[in-house]
Amino acid sequence: MLPGVLSWAIITGMFALSILKPLIAAVFMIAFLFYWLLRIIYMNIFLILSYARLKIEKETDWMERAREIDELKPGQPVFCDLSKISGVKKKIAAIIHCRQLRNLKKSGLPAPLSRDIYHLVIIPVIRENIDIVEPGIEAIKNGVYPSGRFLIIIALEEAAPDTVKQDMNKIKDRYRNDFFDFLITVHPANQQGEARVKGANTTFAARRAEEYLIEKGIAFENVLVSCFDADTVANPDYFACLTYYYMISPNRLRLSYQPIPVYHNNMWDVPGFARILDIGTSFFQLIEATNPSKLVTFSSHSISFKVLQEVGYWPPDMISDDSAIFWKSLIHYEGVYQVRPIYTTVSMDIVTGPTLRKTFISIYRQKRRWAWGVENFPIVMRAFLKSKKIALRQKFSYVYKLLDSFISWATWSFLLSLGSWLPVFFASREFATSTVYYTAPRIRHIMFGLASVGIIICMIISLLLLPAKRIKYGFLIKIRHVFEWLLIPVVLLILSALPALDAQTRLMFGSYMEFRATEKYRKKPA
């Protein structure tokens, strides 16, 4: 309730202040705009740094690094010889790796052997057909990490259409011999204590996996679970990279592992506004990745099965299962839990539909579902109030982070688009003859001008992030893509702030939301 109340208080407060005390409203807007400008600059710095890190690690041989960890002998010092490494990027990557090896060594804790590690991939399916699911399976099979170490579970909903069920069986038949094992679980509908949410299905699948792992005698701490959306296509080095990070992290059982989500699967098949919105999401995750102490899991990510089992799996009654599992773990381990960013990508579909209108509606619903993550707030607050072990500073930090992210999500676009001219619109005669009335728009103009540099940076990085194979689309497509960024103020208002405010308002009034699988649609290659 609190985030919704605060968001509405900010928006309506700005309206009221603009009418009653436009001078104060104008001053507030100047202070806010300056804050916003600094945030934009700050975020852009970390966007560049994070992107650089992604580029640096792009050519890393994660399997080789994992072997280096395997070969780490107790008592033997870590020696890094950079002289044989050519290229700045590789040298920086080697320095980072070396530092991590030393940390591991310093911890004195043994790392699991790479050959002991299994990957459990859970893919929840309800309406997605073979065209959507198969590329992800294919990518795992063709990835760097040996496919024989994978247990794939397609977590089917009982309510899924028969055609989808048949599709999944086809996939199973096609790939069962490529992996350690391939299972299909069918989550019964209408279970007591469950809501119609994805978390209920994945939890059901994970419990089945628990039985399976016990039966096979595989230690939970050697299993990394990746809960992927049905459309997720992991980068070929994703699981190798994940394995490396799992091995090298001394506190690996108190971590979730978050890749950078990109939306390349169908990015050229969707309208421009949808494209830039989801590229914006990728950028946001890139920026967030630079701040692991406050990072929260988002969308497709990975976690140790041991942790998952100890915390009791995903909540079966929450929409935002991806972030909820982090909060659940943080609370379970009394604050000793973090998300580790891993600098590789998983690619997903941009939500779309057969018509522009349907695409628009689907995107709106998806963003509203994401914004439903605010449902974690009361749970976290209650847990924080109860817990005596979590440091006050950490509690404050997380509460601030939650409030800040959800409130700024729902309000900033409104403040920037409407709030900045409201005081002028409602100006009384007294205010209209003050210097503030005339200097405020000039200050706003300068700040918007400076902030547009941020958009230019986004344009450049979005070009650099484009999937390489699309270079053939050439210069004109790229130019068009660059200009799409000019839509960002409108897109953020209508398809980001508005659904966020919608979600917060619904939650504020006690509404309940069911998981609605968003439509995924890919053009078949000609």
Binding site: V27, L38, L49, T290, R442
Partner: protein
């Protein structure tokens, strides 16, 4: 990365904490003066002109930007402000800069050095001009007989006689003409002494002969009023009562309102001031009547001068009463504005204010102030003197979306560019034919008049741009 982030975060917090107050102080006009090593508060000037692009002069120096321009960081004091634009008259103004305040001159009207006079009806034979308000029609007169009256359609730029030279009433001597705002009906009264007639014309269909509605009139009315929306109801105002005519069915409702000494008509309501000083508003069919005022003592005191009051609704029952002896009363404090000598009033809807004038003075009553600002014991109508040096002011018109006043003093027409600091600019526009009225068409920023050679002439006061900005006076 996390350490770098923390350091950078601290730097940004510091930058915000230090710079934000400075930015806010700057917005209030505060600047640092290195020579005095002091922070002082300045003011600014905002000015825009119509047309834009004029050079701005402050004292003797030319400002780098052209209008619209903001000149900020001005120390408090008096400055001579000027605007120059080729082919337009220079504009200058003494402005007082106050700390933290903006002196605003929005859409200063720059008048051409020489107006382009367009003769619409040459021939030099016209004697008077009357505009049918709210329409595109002028009634142009070249003699006193009906066949010497013409209708000029300014949109179509064509002139037609009110009646043909051989028509039934062509030699009819015209005594008076009644028109109503936004209505295309026109009633002419005239004829020989023994056979006076009232003729009803429809200007939209001038070729159709007029209807004789003389039978509806028992006597010459003080005024004839009808609503532009209605095609049948006409109210004839007599001393003490009002008759209602149904001109469609040719019927009369004698003494429809009796005991009346004031009357006004708005879109929906009739406003009536009774002989007992009670004010009511009524729908034309009398189905709904609301008493607005019945304070016997105050009423007697207010409406004691004139025999009849014309009532004008400003908004939401804010009324202005203009008596036949020139007293002016408003329904808001301070109620009585003038006891006598008011020779006319004009209301401007867009700015919600009224200009009224006497022979020598022009005044403006700003009804907008009541809505925007409320101060204890000060919620009263703001009336300000706009001009005091008139010698024989006979007409005032709102111009330029109600931002300025056009007035006729003797035979000269002036533009009074209003500034709320009281320093209004008077610019001579044109000299017109003796004892004729002038008219301003807001939609084309043009003044229509009979020139001294008795030709119907038009001048465009301001350039007609694609979107005429809403003019505002300086604050």
């Amino acid at each position: 990365m996390e350490v770098a982030r923390k350091i950078l975060f601290s730097i940004f917090v510091l930058v915000y904490a230090v710079l934000c107050p400075f930015i806010i102080l700057y917005s209030f006009g505060y600047i640092y003066q290195p020579e005095k090593k002091d922070i002082s508060q300045t003011g600014l000037i905002y000015l825009s002109s119509f047309p834009s692009g004029a050079s701005v002069y402050l004292e003797k120096s030319r400002f780098k930007n052209k209008t619209p321009a903001t000149i900020s960081e001005l120390k408090p004091g008096q400055y001579q402000l000027g605007l120059r634009l080729k082919s337009y008259r220079p504009w200058s103004h003494q402005v007082t800069i106050e700390p933290g305040k903006a002196s605003v001159f929005k859409n200063v009207p720059l008048l051409p050095v020489k107006f382009n006079e367009i003769t619409l009806l040459p021939g030099g034979r016209y004697t008077s001009l009357a505009m049918v308000r709210g329409t595109d029609y002028f009634v142009v007169q070249e003699g006193s007989r009906l066949k010497e009256f013409y209708i000029y359609d300014r949109r179509e730029k064509e002139i037609k006689p009110l009646v043909g030279a051989k028509a039934e009433y062509s030699d009819f001597a015209v005594n008076s003409i009644f028109t109503e705002n936004k209505s295309e009906l026109l009633i002419v009264y005239g004829g020989p002494l023994w056979n006076k007639k009232y003729l009803l014309f429809n200007l939209a269909d001038i070729n159709t002969p007029p209807s004789d509605i003389t039978g509806l009139f028992k006597a010459y009315p003080y005024a004839l009023r009808w609503s532009a929306d209605s095609t049948k109801d006409v109210f004839a105002v007599y001393e003490g009562f009002i008759n209602r005519f149904d001109i469609k069915n040719y019927s009369i409702y004698p003494k429809y309102f009796d005991g009346i000494k004031g009357f006004g008509l708005s879109n929906r309501w009739l406003y009536l001031l009774g002989a007992d000083n009670v004010i009511i508003k009524s729908t034309p069919d009398k189905k709904q009547e609301i008493i607005l005022f019945e304070d016997e003592h105050l009423g007697r005191d207010l409406f004691k001068w004139s025999r009849f009051y014309e009532i004008k609704e400003i908004y939401r029952d804010a009324l202005v009463f203009w008596g036949d002896r020139g007293d002016l009363i408003v329904s808001l404090p301070p109620y009585r504005i003038f006891d006598k000598n008011v020779s006319g009033m004009e209301y401007n809807e867009s700015k919600n204010r009224v200009v009224f004038w006497t022979k020598n003075n022009i005044w403006v009553a700003d009804f907008n102030m009541l809505n925007t600002e409320y101060a204890l014991f000060n919620d009263r109508l703001q009336i300000s003197s706009a001009y005091r040096q008139g010698s024989s002011i006979s007409q005032c018109l709102w111009a330029y979306n109600g931002a300025h006043i056009l007035f006729k003093d003797k035979n000269d027409v002036y533009l009074l560019a209003l500034n709320s600091d009281g320093r209004h600019h008077k610019e001579h526009i044109v000299s017109v034919k003796d004892n004729t009225d002038v008219f301003y068409a807001e939609d084309e920023n043009s003044l229509y008049y009979l020139d001294q050679g008795a030709n119907l002439t038009k001048i465009q006061l301001f350039p007609k741009e694609k979107a005429v900005p809403l003019a505002e006076e300086s604050q």
